[in-house]
Amino acid sequence: MDKPQAIVIGAGFTGVAVAYDLAQRGLKVNVLERGPLVNGTSGRTHGLLHSGARYAVDDQESAIECIDENLILRKIIPQVIEPNGGLFVALNESDMAYREAFIQGCEDCHISIEELTPRQTLALEPNLNPKLITAFKVPDGTFDPLRLAMGFAASANAYGAEFHLFCELQDFILDGMGNVKGVQYLDRSSNQIKEIHADIVINAAGVWAGEVAGLAGNIDLPIKPTPGVMVAYDQRLCQRVINRLNEPGDGDIIVPQRQMITVGTTSFEADNLDYIPVFDDQVQLMFERGCELIPAIRYTKERGAFMASRPLLDSGTKGRSLTRTFKCIDHKESDNVDGLVTITGGKATTMRLMAEKTADLVCQKLGMHVSCQTAEIPILSYRKFHLAQNREVA
């Protein structure tokens, strides 16, 4: 009996997690990605393994998703995680005004927090601003973006999924009724056009999901590309994630990883999806905001500065108040185009859950009664990832 065939467009976090879940449930999966793994938004995360505390006040749906998935990822893929927790730090009166709502919000979302005195806080993180007023321990962490994706991709490989990197979608293959039956793509390594047919195509192209969906017909996806800057500095001045206790805002987080720290981020609207320049005033802002939390940043050297676009769901609101949750769209329901589903929005921390919901939808459409097991199975070593078998290498 032949396995049902699925094609996943995009090998960001969403794409690799969907490929894994579908392959694990018994589908034959081919992933198309125009670049290398996680070369879009996913790769450029500062690596925050979210406790959800940042969203506990204003976006509780996202916060609960984050804390639940945080605990699952720690269990199934510890090989890519620095599990040292985080702190929410208050420096002034404005920060303290947020304190009550923060405590209540975390309790509502079952995020376990612990308030510390300034002395206790500075004992844990001596480089913090000594004028801090209070701090809360939260179960944040740091993950390696490429290796998180490689781990899921390696597990997908083990169930037969193939990753066609440097292969760019050119067009959908449609049947007489406008339903999607396969894809035509350009293998950018060899400049050859190829085709794959499938029972279902999953659009996991992140910020580019709108462009991809548009190839299948007159489909309008509500994605608002919302870039932000990150700046990395060359000393690991904190061992845990440091967050500013306040509303989500520019420069409210410092994430340690290996021997450096990354300060993020900003939020603004953009037009060009493929390249967003680094704006010096934003880099300067990160520096200033970072120094408020960790004054010693002023003695470090900039190691890198970069931009990436969040794929936020447009519900009519602007910027940071856009929800950070995700959405599965069955295009048969919304646009009368069968054979295509889109999964969009979301956060890195909820990648596995996004894939679970997407795979549930796909299996429902294909009449397969298989449930998700990805929360239980440990992810394989990320080094077991390999490229598609038919790749000829020069």
Binding site: G35, P36, L37, V38, N39, G43, R44, T45, H46, G47, P78, Q79, V80, I81, E82, P83, N84, T142, D144, P145, L146, R147, L165, F166, R188, S189, S190, N191, Q192, M230, A232, R236, Q239, P256, Q257, R258, Q259, M260, T262, N272, D274, Y275, V278, D280, R303, G304, A305, F306, A308, S381, Y382, R383, K384, F385, H386, L387, R391, E392, V393, A394
Partner: protein, 237 residues
């Protein structure tokens, strides 16, 4: 006030079985931005056929290693100012000693498998990694290890240039880092294509962007291998 420089990127191109060549792109750049930023703009605005590897843009993924003006660099943290001058050339090629997929991207699969087989630990206690294995702390704080598996050390190694059978600096450093010289790992590293094939060029440590110091680790590994043999010879445990 940001400066503007005019530089020429010379980019190595290779598609399928066709012969390789270099393409030139005249670019206006800020000298304090990074070599990778220019390459990304070339792809975004000038030549969508360009294939190159990148992911994190801040030296944790190890994907964007390339040869820049003949020297191994991690292009996301290498400023343009550090490799050329106003009016100068930035010659970009894929890393040496890896199979080329296309243009600037190479296949790291065999390399990752070797890192796996020597047991390099991706996440270790902070004290252990910071001290390069000298002491293990009771602390339960962990961090991702220094080695980002970028392959620059292997690209720079003269021995790796003449034989792909040589495990290479990162892999040997990985065996030293794990601290676990079990029989499987010993078979790999205590061999003619393992730690004994190194001939002290020290280029690996020179180009490592991530504080691994593979040359020192290879020599430390040799010290451990020799002391094992001596102990075994004298029947000491």
């Amino acid at each position: 006030m940001t400066q503007t420089w005019h530089v020429t990127y010379e980019i190595f191109r290779k598609k399928g079985d066709q012969p390789s060549h270099f393409d030139r792109f005249e670019m206006e750049v800020d000298p304090d931005e990074y070599v990778l930023d220019g390459i990304e703009r070339i792809w975004a605005f000038h030549d969508r056929s360009l294939v190159f590897s990148h992911a994190c843009h801040h030296s944790t993924c190890g994907a964007c290693g390339m040869l820049v003006n003949g020297v191994e660099k991690l292009t996301c943290i290498t400023s343009i100012r550090s490799v050329t001058k106003d009016g100068g050339v930035i010659r970009v090629q894929p890393m040496r000693n890896f199979p080329v997929i296309s243009d600037l991207s190479v296949d790291m699969t065999d390399f990752y498998q070797r890192m796996e087989s020597v047991g390099h630990q991706p996440v270790v206690t902070i004290g252990y990694e910071d001290s390069k294995g000298k002491f293990n702390t009771e602390d339960d704080l962990l961090r991702l290890s220094d080695c980002i598996e970028c392959g620059l050390c292997i690209s720079a190694c003269p021995i790796a240039m003449t034989t792909p059978a040589y495990l290479g600096p990162a892999v040997l450093a990985g065996a030293q880092q794990s601290g676990d010289l079990n029989p499987c790992v010993l078979e790999l590293v205590d061999s003619e294509n393992g730690a004994w094939r190194c001939h002290s060029a020290y280029e690996c440590t020179e180009v490592c962007p991530s504080n691994v110091d593979p040359a020192w680790r290879i020599m430390d590994l040799r010290k451990k291998l020799v002391s094992r043999r001596i102990k075994k010879f004298f029947g000491i445990k």
